[in-house]
Symmetry: C2
Subunit: 698 residues, 2 copies
Amino acid sequence: MNIEKLLRPKSMAIIGASEKDGFGGDTCRIILQYKKEQSRVYFVNPKYSMVFDRICYPAIADIEDEVDMAIICTPKKAVNTLLREAAGKGCKGAVVFASGYAETGSEGKADQDELVDLCDKLDIALMGPNCAGFANYIDDVFSFAFLTDYRQRKGNIGLVSQSGQICLAGLDLPNIGFSHIISSGNSAQITVEEYLSFLVDDEDTKVVCAYIEGIKKPELFINALRRAALKRKPVVILKSGRSEKARELAASHTGSLAGSDKALSAIFEKYGVLRVDDVQELFFTAQVFSRLKKMPASFKYASLNVSGGEALITADTALLSGIELAEFGQETKQKLKQLLPFYATASNPLDMTATLAYDPDKLAAALKIIMDDQDVGAVIMGYTINNVITDTTVRCLIEGLEKATCSEHAKPVVWLTFVSHTPDKEQSDHLEVMNIPVLPPSKYGFKILGSLNKFASYRAEERNLDFVNSTARAAGKYAALTEYESMKELADAGIASVKQVVVPDKTTLQKVIAELRFPLVMKIDSPDILHKSDAGAVKLNIGSKEEALVAFDEITGNAGRYKPGARIGSVLVREMIPQGTEVIAGIVTDNQFGAFVMVGLGGVFVELFEDIQLYPVPLSKHEAKKMITSLKAYKLLTGFRGEPSKDVDALSDLIVRVGDYACNHINNLKEMDINPLFIYEEGKGVAPADALIVKEIP
Amino acid sequence: MNIEKLLRPKSMAIIGASEKDGFGGDTCRIILQYKKEQSRVYFVNPKYSMVFDRICYPAIADIEDEVDMAIICTPKKAVNTLLREAAGKGCKGAVVFASGYAETGSEGKADQDELVDLCDKLDIALMGPNCAGFANYIDDVFSFAFLTDYRQRKGNIGLVSQSGQICLAGLDLPNIGFSHIISSGNSAQITVEEYLSFLVDDEDTKVVCAYIEGIKKPELFINALRRAALKRKPVVILKSGRSEKARELAASHTGSLAGSDKALSAIFEKYGVLRVDDVQELFFTAQVFSRLKKMPASFKYASLNVSGGEALITADTALLSGIELAEFGQETKQKLKQLLPFYATASNPLDMTATLAYDPDKLAAALKIIMDDQDVGAVIMGYTINNVITDTTVRCLIEGLEKATCSEHAKPVVWLTFVSHTPDKEQSDHLEVMNIPVLPPSKYGFKILGSLNKFASYRAEERNLDFVNSTARAAGKYAALTEYESMKELADAGIASVKQVVVPDKTTLQKVIAELRFPLVMKIDSPDILHKSDAGAVKLNIGSKEEALVAFDEITGNAGRYKPGARIGSVLVREMIPQGTEVIAGIVTDNQFGAFVMVGLGGVFVELFEDIQLYPVPLSKHEAKKMITSLKAYKLLTGFRGEPSKDVDALSDLIVRVGDYACNHINNLKEMDINPLFIYEEGKGVAPADALIVKEIP
């Protein structure tokens, strides 16, 4: 399928063209209003001979020109016939607005499948159905069915959305510019992942934005994210489906099946995707990356305010949101002092006082001093842009900024408002031209600065960005390995050193015991006994051959009494490891995204605080370490309450090896659980005390 | 001081009246523009005979009328003289805009003290200095120096702010109405607490709002909060000083000293104050209480959206923000199904589809069905109000709401936007008239609904709202009681049953031991040995008289060797209590707000997760229980991992008694630390294993 013919057609036909309200009429109106070159746009509708003073053809076949793309504005029942006619005319792309497909249930799903099959057969790249179409501001293509007020919207943000309403929200916002807006609807054939790939590769798109309800092509999706990470192109994603309710609704909205939200979040983390929580955050995050010409080199901000109260509130809200404020150096403070009135404090956040706020030259001088401070990574100008003519402050501030930011060495500047407001258009336009993003109040503003920091500090080279695809295994059958087999896998894979044997009888036990170091642990090795301790079939701290021989009899005896008829062939004998701090590590698999390593601290932390980190395999040591340091209970490993620091380095190495193991067994591994895994003090490593591996039965 | 003459003067003089920009000119402009009855407003300035076509008097003494209040617009140096002249004219209230006082450092502080002394002597209630003045929309008084665009702002929100800029932010917002706006500046004489009291008592003020940098009069402050709680009047407070930086800045902004932020938060919790994080949240929270005619009766919301995508996002963002969505009943679903197209789902959030969104009658019918569902407490209409004429949806939605909310039985409705926008004025005005608050996007919107829930569920009768004031004790000298004395205090106060004695020798030990039940714990009782275990001076699990006698010698012997010369007069003997789950409880004191009980789970929870609850004394059992259930680790007490549930009821009783103890010793108690306090399974109570009390030395 050639997505180019869909998104960059040279000629197009609007089938169902009309002057009425609705898909046909609104699509025509938008084209006539926005499209610069209209000569190869053709209206088609057997009901009219003219639409908006243009010739209207009875059928697509009647157009004398070649037609690359058809916009089908009719209800569902006519669609398939029209697609065949379009294919006959040589169309390779089509937009279908009609609803009534997979979003309506099983009958609609069958119709959708038929539609996709038909387009596949006709070699037509299909957008929709149940979509609002697209606008390509770069190549002057409009196939969009929702009306907006008329203004210039060309810019560098590429948006794909499974909701047309969210496209509309972006289009309605002032001072934001798009390269492409794509409302993919049910995304039946060409999917969100393909549009996302297109936007990642598109040179005119500086920021990729997406609203996604469900992923259909995980590999394509991840490949796009990887390319973006390597190109350092920001990808901002609003993904619904965190709540059970949203997952239920997704099925009825676009027929999407939502995968595991936690798995997806982990993937976003790996590829540096900026996940946002709502529509407001989506567009204002995009605006920041769209405007800023350079990223902050460090992540401490200087904040300038026109009032002491706002300076205080900025200090508090920055702290609450985890945004760090720079500490001005002595030189900075001294120089600022010379500009400020005697009573003012040269601190950060800085209360500019009227002295700076009403004097653009002084403000520019102060900004230069602040930007020269090496602790400052970027500047926040904190002020609400009103729509009121009485407020001259904003003009002075903008003029000051203009003088200060014209230098090449100027650090990035963002504007932070205190209340959301009707902003003055002239000033907003001015800031847009100056490439200064305007942020909403703190709960959004600082979250967005957090995303800016995250993107600017992301280093693809620290990550292992490979994606190891697994064969789908939702329907597979699985079985757990025994403890011996599970631990043997760990040893064979070099994940951990494990000294153990399984002995069928005491004679063998006597033979092999010389190769093991006491103390030993012995357990029944039976597929029929899962709760070995309950069965009295576990003996710890065995200090000699004699004790081992006694233990053998006790273990087999107890096991036999515990479960008569159980297969009690043999006993597991393993070198006992010293007690350490309990950690759990392992592998879980997601049906869409394959294997993830997990790590957490043992005990209540996992169960009570859900303090588990999840990460896609394979992973680098840097990534493994970051998983560990991201645990809420991480402090417990760093010399908490006088305990010695723990061997986080060794734990990181183990996690990397666990990840590699998962990659090597990607097609039949279901899960691995090393629990407990003991971590010892620095330099003394980690050791598994028990493990369970679940694999597919061939 | 009579604050009435300041805030509700019948006549006033603007001293320093002018036509220029600045305090004098702007104050005159505002009065001329806003004030309806201007006959008893007098301009004073020796430089002019006319100002804005009105007579300008050379001095206040020249005014023929009585003057209640003087607005002094001059710089600092003229202020004191003018105040004396005003007093000579009988003024009982004055507003001083001038800056250069306590906010500028120690010299300014001295000037401010002199100013306050003067006003006290002259019996003048003083607003400021370093303030922007006030506007009293109810009584038609304007003494405000910051210009805004002209429009009607009379309403029911009363605001006091230590920052004039924040007053301005409120005044600039559209569709919000005030009873009083007070910029109290340095609040040197009449303080924030007094304005807050005024607003709590003012019948025309429905919602009290405050921006506060520091509390000066804790008792007045708390009394105002209590009256508001008992009247069920919402109090919304933005208090800066959470961050170290903000606390430093506060001193230089309004000369405020910030108290302990955690103590203040606990006080807010007790009195049901709604604490907000920034200016945006302050005003939009106020707007909700200003508009809604009734509170939701339950706290599950129904959400209506015009698109599936927005419905999904609402489900997710509600979950993220802790806002619960109602589960529609079968009847509700069936009735809604009849209104919706066949493919739509009658779920919550509800995608209205075009069928409801474009048909006000159908929408009204759907709203009535939803409001009749008993699980629904209130309704959220989710839609962005644009400024674009093409959007007719918003008109249909408002019309539908109008039809549905005219009934007395209608449940509260709030409007939630998805992006912040220039809202259409006509529609915004319409929603204002309909008393439907318009909320900013989710990060604010749902936080504000959380405040609404908090206010609506607050019950003053469940709380003990007494405030026990303590004598200031920052400069006191303190000493720790011994373990025996501390535990004896607990026993004497009925906080816990403790069976213990201190014995000076073995003869006494033999005598008293018959009255104690084994096992016992014995420890050295010496003011010179703090770390008893390190000294080998603690013996546990003593099972007989013989063991006790041996222990006595060992303890005194070890203690003597550990610290030669230490006073080793006696040994503490106590019935040993069984091991339970470790809790800590106690008392901490704040210099401004007196005593607070604290409770937390022992071990890492307090130190690693800062999982401590703090609450002002005295407190009711309901409040004590709420402290416990608010702990992050509370689940550990409720039958976690197969453990029996713990006796939370007994712990609550103990906390109440600890609170009472603090009240009874308010003037000499510094802190109490019961650590560990063992909590046992339900019905088996709690018991302290150790305690430390610190008291003032008389």
